[in-house]
Symmetry: C2
């Protein structure tokens, strides 16, 4: 099962699919990718890369091409790495719905089946809708709210989540429209 911290691993495997890279560049691309607020530090990237070398998901590229370059370590994905990438991308459980995990997974959607994509999108949508229901119920219960600002924050929060739900719905429809969907339409999981 995918633990929370597999996010970096998945991102690295996905990025390296586009071609071998060294750590410094990986960090830049990564920060752009999951870059809404979060910035990944060297202190967590490099150890992660080393671990992935140890566990055989990555291998060092033997720098045959240019001898003039300084000693930087270029990584590429191994067979085992590809397998792991596919295993992680096929996870459709809660770990795929958390914010960071979802974003990474989504970015690499092009390399999964439509069935998986739909399950992840629907899973996240359901999760968000549950949150919405719970918060709105709670809001009614505690309408003692004398606090204008707290109320405004809640309102804006609800609106943002509702917006994301609509976004997900559009994406789901688009996925379904793409191909006429298989005979046994997978509407409910």
């Amino acid at each position: 099962m995918a633990r929370r911290g597999d996010t970096i691993e998945l991102a690295v495997l996905g990025l390296l699919h586009e071609g071998p890279m060294h750590g410094y560049e990986l960090r830049k691309r990564l920060n752009l990718m999951l870059g809404w607020g979060r910035v990944l530090s060297y202190g967590s990237l490099y150890p992660a890369l080393k671990k992935m070398l140890r566990t055989g998901l990555l291998s060092e590229v033997t720098t045959t091409t240019a001898v003039t370059r300084r000693p930087r370590i270029v990584y590429e994905v191994t067979e085992a790495g590809h397998a792991e990438f596919e295993r992680l991308m096929s996870e459709v459980g809660p770990s795929a719905w958390e914010d960071d995990n979802f974003d990474i997974r989504f970015a690499f959607f092009g390399r999964t089946d439509m069935e998986i994509r739909l399950r992840v999108l629907e899973g996240r949508r359901t999760r968000l809708q549950e949150r919405l229901t719970r918060v709105q119920a709670e809001l009614e219960r505690t309408q003692e709210e004398v606090n204008r600002y707290a109320a405004e924050l809640q309102r804006h929060g609800v609106e943002s989540v509702e917006r994301e739900v609509r976004w997900l719905s559009d994406l789901i429809q688009a996925e379904r429209g793409e191909r006429p969907a298989s005979p046994e339409a997978p509407a409910q999981s």
Copy 2:
């Protein structure tokens, strides 16, 4: 200076202002408050409360009222706690702009000056606009983007941030309109 982890402290001080509470209830209210995804565990709340007792920000309420109740520990804010709350709320540096910190601060805006409110709102808006500019610049530079899904994610992200910027702008205008603003209008910090 407010470190990242002062978030719980600020939230607890702010919530207890409404009246004494015990840990279990604080957690429920807290989770509702910063509850978009994050859930605070006992393992971090109780140690935090103990620490705040030690440092004198909170005191245990001597349960004079009901003797029938079971042994639960009710906390209230001390003088020092009130002072610390106000100190934290007056911080207008980067720590006030981070997502979680901002939300908590915003929820307690009713207990600060308009000047502080404006500075925090404007600070966050500026921060978001910077991010936006950086990401959009980066998007133009790397338009090699063959990846539909990654591009869609970026688009949605940009839109969300733009929406929050508009929200902040509305709030800032509302703050300014509330009172006709002081003679020396504080338009720029």
